[in-house]
Symmetry: C2
């Protein structure tokens, strides 16, 4: 069974030394009292929870899966899932970043993201239950009425009630404009919902006393397409009472019609949800439901990106342990362990290539994702308007990169780490193949990575004439100007400046081509996202290298080797991973003609 | 459930129009009577078998898997596997390319490879049972004694007895020098084998009356390492009688100790095999067993590469069908199906990118693999010494490329085709996720792709100072000289010449670096193999484009659209896939320092 240790040292490096997160957060009145010790303690305790409670039920949860009883429509989660959730709930973890007003601890979203990373390393399927609750909580926090918030948020903060997002239907996922579930207004102000949803993660289970479904549906006479979609709260049990005293009342007219059998995340119940005249309540304005749901979806996209990070980290840790233990063959440059019958396979350059790929993507992704989470806190809580707007712009720009770049990398890295195990990687008991299977969903759900790429290139960049990208670019330029003349930073700043220039040119070129033919955006989007993703990672790797270099300079021979190793991984990133852009730029520039000329019926 | 149609048109294009295979084979006395109709008929009938018998039991075989009875040590294959095997055997398919002397049909190996492709498209797990028999047959054909051949080959030709290769032990796979299974000589000339083997594909099953294990073991006092390994025949039942009249006798002292639970290929029994004083017979000379087993391993490596091709083809066919049927969203450049609520997703450039990636790798891989199979026939059967040697050199050079490049591509393409399905791709019932799981093993077994890359760069290229690569290069240069002045071939010949030059330079550079430090080979090997793989595919794509252009020129407007489409896919290959080499060359040149500087304990 795989092992896992929370990467506390690296998390602290990112939080404190790279991002200066506590100082940044203390600028926000809400976090004025935050201190480094609290942050470290929370992360450490959260890590312990993941190591002790989630990891042990990850492989067993995958193998047992969820079970559905057609007679009662009930779903049983795998052994240990409910107990771990009880522990989680009782320790107050669900409310970590929730408002104190609703019983939460009011800590920064940044800490939630750090916690997510460790949850996803140890049990992605389990973590999706509380994760979706947070998404539903945030959507209601932003768009719910006072009464709705008072009724639902306290129970969701404690985790007594969990949440879901009900978007997809059998005939539509990406294209929600086609959805058919209908909501008919009732005399008492409620609505009666009828329809069928599929792929509803955590849609039915035995872990909590109630499940709060956020459901997209159409009002009678709603306009066609996405402008006719409204959002509804549809609880499994209709609540009685209010606030913290609310109890569950009558069973509502929605139920799980069956579970999907999937490639992975088997411990999470992926439900068909039948709405059979279920009672629901409108959230926000009629026909503005998709907009409201995007709060949840954007949060979920960040979470999914962090799933890519979590899986990369745990796959890396296990592949390293195996590569150090497994002896097989000899180093090409002479025996490394002549007293043994063979050398540990970590002597082999290509084994190191696979390990370092995962490590560089994990550490780069951690710095990036935690920074984006800090931007989320900045957007939500910073008192200064410009800083707040910058946070919002970065969140908007980076969401598709977090989601797509990090999950592509997560799948790649899980697969590379499996490869380190040779044949054993393919065998269930080692657990590596589960990481690959679990990681594969991340490239699909919450909008496929292809959709993310269109979102980035089209909506986030071309539609505002590159303003958000330029705002990020100014930060990069500033860094280059500050550090470009330091010879010791040269190996990091030069490739950063180079990829920055290239992204700028590529973006202008794409903008020009897009004016003539919109298919040019679709043809370029995926390699374009890979290219911008590398610009972002180059920037964070250069920042991390700078911190490390300064510590090496300050501490000399006495320096914590952590910093020397950080520089080595940075070098690996720039020399072996960034060069992907040599291909991705060519692909992004190749144009749409070769994609579009083959007639559809000739495929 | 996935569908499949044998790609007969493209197979015929490759066999007859690109490779001129029948003419090439007729130069060999053994195939002097071969004709185009026979070839087409065999491929067509073989395709029908795969469509009708293998495809229907692929998904069910995956879900049911093999079951092991600890009491009897018996393995039950999934429902339908035995029946399909009976049909296969009774129709004589097992002996397709086997010697007529032993009851085979004596057809070219090229046809066997074409059949393999279709078997692997429709049921990789099943196809591994007869596939391993062929490997064991070929090993005995080359290295067995007259008596051994007479006893075993007729039964293996009919498929009454199946074969395995028993190499891996719990502590060694890649490094067979460490293997411990021992073989003690007995007074009657037989040997008594004791030890434990793992990962034995098709190691125990209920499909045939006997299983012929080819087992690597050590004689007493054998030298350490790979020079002390001998090869033995260890049948499940000791045969009685001789030749076609042989019967199974006493149960031998080897048995299946358990099955592995795997990521995929669940219909194939991956066995732990316990040798408990089993009776065996030496094959070939003592201590030369690894050499003899390499006959089987090289054959298996070609087969595994074709598994990558087969999965790519079937994943492509299913993704195309889905992309044409699934309506979702609108074309970026305006509605393509305004009468429908949405357009089929095949209108989207990025969906086409995924589909064309699979198609270009499938069609390129087919031309390449079939050509390598023709080289196998040339090596075995050509009367001309130089031609024979050229065949042998190409087989040797190309084996690691077939194995690694085609299986990397197979996994990538299965994953891209899954992605076309969105969320449905992740659901078991659509069958796409099985292709991804099955495809993942191909990068591992028969020598990991990292090992293949070392074999290519080290043994096959640097060790003979690039002679075999130059022999292939001469063929490429000849093609460039013949076609370089044709303006219509420019778009194909120019990038081919470019990648040819780059491979040449990269190879020289690597050779120089390797003299100073062997780790440079290990650091460069994997991206080097990707680079050479693209040189090879560029060559075959240019050849295919030439054939297509000539037909377009000859037939004008009346030309079969097949040829115009072939040119479009060729263009896609050169513009969107070949550019991977911009990255792989940089990675191959990056050197070993960034891989080796991090101390092992700092991972």
């Amino acid at each position: 069974m795989p092992s896992y240790k929370a990467p506390l040292r690296d998390q602290q490096f990112v939080l404190h030394e790279v991002l200066g997160a506590v100082d940044a957060l203390r600028e926000m009145p809400r976090y004025a009292e935050l201190d480094v010790d609290t942050v470290n303690q929370v992360v450490e305790e959260a890590g312990k929870f993941c190591e002790d409670k989630l990891l042990p039920i990850n492989a067993s949860g995958d193998q047992e899966g969820c079970t559905y009883d057609p007679a009662t429509k009930a779903v049983k989660t795998p052994a240990g899932f409910k107990e771990a959730y009880d522990d989680f709930r009782e320790a107050g973890w669900q409310g970590l970043a929730a408002e104190t007003e609703y019983g939460g601890q009011g800590l920064p979203h940044l800490l939630q993201i750090a916690f997510y990373e460790m949850q996803y390393s140890t049990n992605q399927a389990w973590a999706m239950y509380p994760g979706l609750t947070i998404g539903a909580y945030e959507c209601l926090l932003k768009h719910g009425s006072r009464e709705q918030k008072d009724l639902f948020l306290p129970k969701m903060t404690t985790g007594q009630w969990t949440g879901t997002m009900c978007l997809t239907e059998p005939h539509c996922g990406t294209d929600l404009g086609m959805l058919r579930t209908k909501a008919e207004p009732q005399a008492d102000g409620s609505y009666r919902l009828t329809g069928e949803k599929i792929f509803i993660s955590s849609g039915e289970h035995d872990m909590a006393e109630n499940i709060i479904h956020l459901v997209l549906a159409r009002l009678p006479d709603a306009p066609q397409g996405t402008k006719g979609i409204s959002l509804f709260i549809v609880p499994k049990f209709v609540p009685v009472g209010a606030g913290a005293d609310a109890k569950v009342g009558a069973r509502n007219g929605l139920y799980c019609g069956g579970l999907e059998h999937k490639m992975g995340i088997n411990g999470n119940s992926t439900c068909q949800i039948i709405l059979d005249g279920a009672t629901g309540w409108l959230v926000g304005e009629p026909n503005k439901g998709l907009n409201a749901m995007f709060v949840m979806m954007n949060g979920a996209r960040l979470g999914v990106g962090v799933q890519g990070l979590g899986i990369t980290e745990v796959a890396y840790q296990n592949a390293v342990a195996y590569a150090k233990e497994r002896i097989q063959g000899r180093s090409l440059s002479g025996p490394a362990a002549p007293d043994q019958p063979a050398d540990p396979i970590i002597v082999h350059p290509d084994v190191r290539r696979m390990l370092l790929t995962a490590r560089a993507y994990a550490e780069g992704g951690r710095a990036f994702a935690y920074w984006v989470a800090l931007m989320a806190d900045t957007q939500l809580s910073h008192p200064d308007h410009d800083r707040k707007k910058f946070g919002a712009d970065m969140m908007s720009l980076m969401t598709p990169i977090v989601k797509a770049f990090m999950t592509d990398n997560g799948f790649l890295c899980a697969s590379e780490c499996l490869q380190v195990f040779g044949g054993h990687g393919y065998i269930r008991q080692w657990g590596m193949e589960q990481f690959v299977r679990d990681a594969r969903i991340n490239m699909i759900y919450e909008g496929t990575n292809g959709i993310q790429a269109l979102d980035l290139a089209g909506r986030k960049i071309l539609m505002d004439n590159g303003a958000k990208l330029r705002a990020f670019g100014r930060m990069v330029t500033e860094f280059i100007e500050e550090n470009g003349t330091r010879p010791d930073m040269n190996e990091f700043v030069t490739p950063l400046a180079d990829i920055g220039d290239k992204v700028q040119k590529l973006t202008m070129e794409l903008g020009m081509k897009a004016m003539a033919n919109r298919d040019e955006v679709g043809a370029a989007a995926v390699p374009y996202l890979r290219t911008v993703g590398h610009l972002v990672y180059s920037y964070f790797w250069a920042r991390m290298a700078k911190v490390a270099l300064e510590r090496v300079k300050a501490d000399g021979d006495a320096v914590d080797p952590f910093y020397r190793h950080k520089l080595m991984v940075a070098r690996f990133y720039f020399q072996r991973l960034l060069p992907e852009t040599a291909t991705s730029i060519r692909a992004a520039r190749a144009g749409s003609a070769t994609l579009m000329e083959l007639p559809a019926d000739a495929f």
